[in-house]
Symmetry: C4
Subunit: 212 residues, 4 copies
Amino acid sequence: MSDRFTEIATGLAAVAKGFHARGWLLGTSGNLSEVVEREPLRLAMSPSGVDKGELRPEQLLAIDENARIVSAHEGKPSDESLLHLRIVKNRGAGAVLHTHSVWNTILSDLYASEGGVTIKGYEMLKGLQGVRTHEHTEFLPIIENSQDMPALAELVGATLNEHPAAHGFLLRRHGLYSWGQTLAEAKRHIEIFEFLLETMGRTLHIKGGRLD
Amino acid sequence: MSDRFTEIATGLAAVAKGFHARGWLLGTSGNLSEVVEREPLRLAMSPSGVDKGELRPEQLLAIDENARIVSAHEGKPSDESLLHLRIVKNRGAGAVLHTHSVWNTILSDLYASEGGVTIKGYEMLKGLQGVRTHEHTEFLPIIENSQDMPALAELVGATLNEHPAAHGFLLRRHGLYSWGQTLAEAKRHIEIFEFLLETMGRTLHIKGGRLD
Amino acid sequence: MSDRFTEIATGLAAVAKGFHARGWLLGTSGNLSEVVEREPLRLAMSPSGVDKGELRPEQLLAIDENARIVSAHEGKPSDESLLHLRIVKNRGAGAVLHTHSVWNTILSDLYASEGGVTIKGYEMLKGLQGVRTHEHTEFLPIIENSQDMPALAELVGATLNEHPAAHGFLLRRHGLYSWGQTLAEAKRHIEIFEFLLETMGRTLHIKGGRLD
Amino acid sequence: MSDRFTEIATGLAAVAKGFHARGWLLGTSGNLSEVVEREPLRLAMSPSGVDKGELRPEQLLAIDENARIVSAHEGKPSDESLLHLRIVKNRGAGAVLHTHSVWNTILSDLYASEGGVTIKGYEMLKGLQGVRTHEHTEFLPIIENSQDMPALAELVGATLNEHPAAHGFLLRRHGLYSWGQTLAEAKRHIEIFEFLLETMGRTLHIKGGRLD
């Protein structure tokens, strides 16, 4: 591996370990990627089926824009590599993270009929790139889950186009995607969404119904 | 200990420590085993009454197919060794894990009258061995708790026969059993079930009743 | 410090650190003790007002049967030393632990009008010393909180006499006390009660009322 | 950096790491400060936009009474430095901590119409500086959130004057501020408020309404 790839892989493995400890990547779920270079596109991608609490830097795969492995690995990139690639291209993202948390799973289902979760009025929103005030309204679209990855990638692309200001999206009963220009920004976005979804979910507990 | 046994014992101790940190093995509860060899059957088994947060590899016992200790230990194998042995024989499992979590305890009681918990439509299900889609329906049988271990082992065997596709089962107000061909697979299955039971339990909070 | 005292102090500091990480000893709350010798009675006792996540073995005080410091410390033993001493004498305990968790605080209030929490039918109860079956009924008495420590110690003594089978008690809106013949047993008992109180509290969430 | 500044910065970084692990400083939220000297006023202040789980001592900034950087840093002090300075001046605090937890966010909203959260009757209150009994009533004022920092600092000052006994305050849908004469005391106060807000929030879950 090049020094640059090693550095990227080390960063991704550290994020994976931290998120696994929080219970956001249990059971080998979720995946992580970071752009290594743009031309030609090369992504460091977590392999399929690996325990994220024990992900080692040397297990990160290098893939091309068609999700084919271009590093000397026997493994298999995550099934959802096509979604990562779509996000990278559509948003110009430098890193993409996907978590399966209890709260993102719950809210992805509760709000499915509305097409997304509307989050507004929280200071924490200010941590999203480009947001300057808690008076921001963030719409987190919910996309119906599917195992047809090329079709799902198309749907993700269409959703990103339809919601150009969105910093993430949910797959229904599946999980959260967010991204950033850097890995640190992507990690920050995930932490913010996880925090806000948990806050909204627990408020629903207390209020026993819809938030508004 | 042979090198192989040491390696297995080290792996089991690491899983025990991690699960204890998550609160799934509090108060010396729960137990863990892995097949060392098949002919004759030898299992590495956690001892009874040990703090799983401090389980050391050298404390793992070797037991035979009748749950008798065949290693040079003074200790006592877990009372539930007979259940582990039954699962190993019935499913051909390579490792068996048993956790006591708050959520598996709650759901094992709430769904007892239905004989099990029906879990469907979650992406996380795809992490169960052989499952290819979130459209899978997993039925997690609930068995009435008992202190008569030979009788309970019989009941476990009958339940496994009755539900050949099940990847785990619950003992009522007691805990979760799951298994896998390897320790890594068993750990993945436990994490998946714990995640899904927590997700369903918290959704029940919000909806204030049954899920459907 | 004698080697024996150092060993005991090291054990107590490790338990304190672990419980603090779980959120059971926040804000310098809670305290821990272990019998160093019986004749004359000497207790290793956590000092007052110390962050339990950073408790160092050399901070543990030695106190006598009247809660006077007999080690070369400037500090102040916990205000609740009299309660520890009472438990040691009444139960012949070797170690006493006192935690402030969110769940034990909530249930100590919710069940105050009944004089205690009745816990029955959970496998986890088997981890309490002398309990052989999940069919056990444990009554965890609730004592009204007070700042008059000698009076509270009397009340604790009377409660222990009234409930000779109890493995612990709650102080209302204050916290949990449990104990054991050894520190390991006391730790096990605390973990079991914390688990069961959380399980019952979360079940109350779902059922929206009393458990039975 | 002077030895004294280094020591302070090291302490702040350790608190930041611990609180981040508990989920109270996710997504680069929150901030921490400690008085380095009083005349002229110098504060060690966490920089803006940094992951608190990875805050390094050398990243702490020194600021003056107008929130201008006086250390050799390129960074930007937290936007909320003016609030820290106001608290230091108004309360004579030696350290100020600000957390964004799920529970403080929820309660800051639920009780906004009452102007604050009234907390009484909990033993944990005794950990607040100067409080001697659980019979204490603590009123935690709630201030409407704003991005106009000078105006918000004025409002904070007025609130502190109006509630001279308060050990902290909430910014609505934003977070908790508390402080102490030392960093240890400020940390203790935060842990106490976080504990009590979670306890009250979960009790609301169970009771399905107001606490009284």
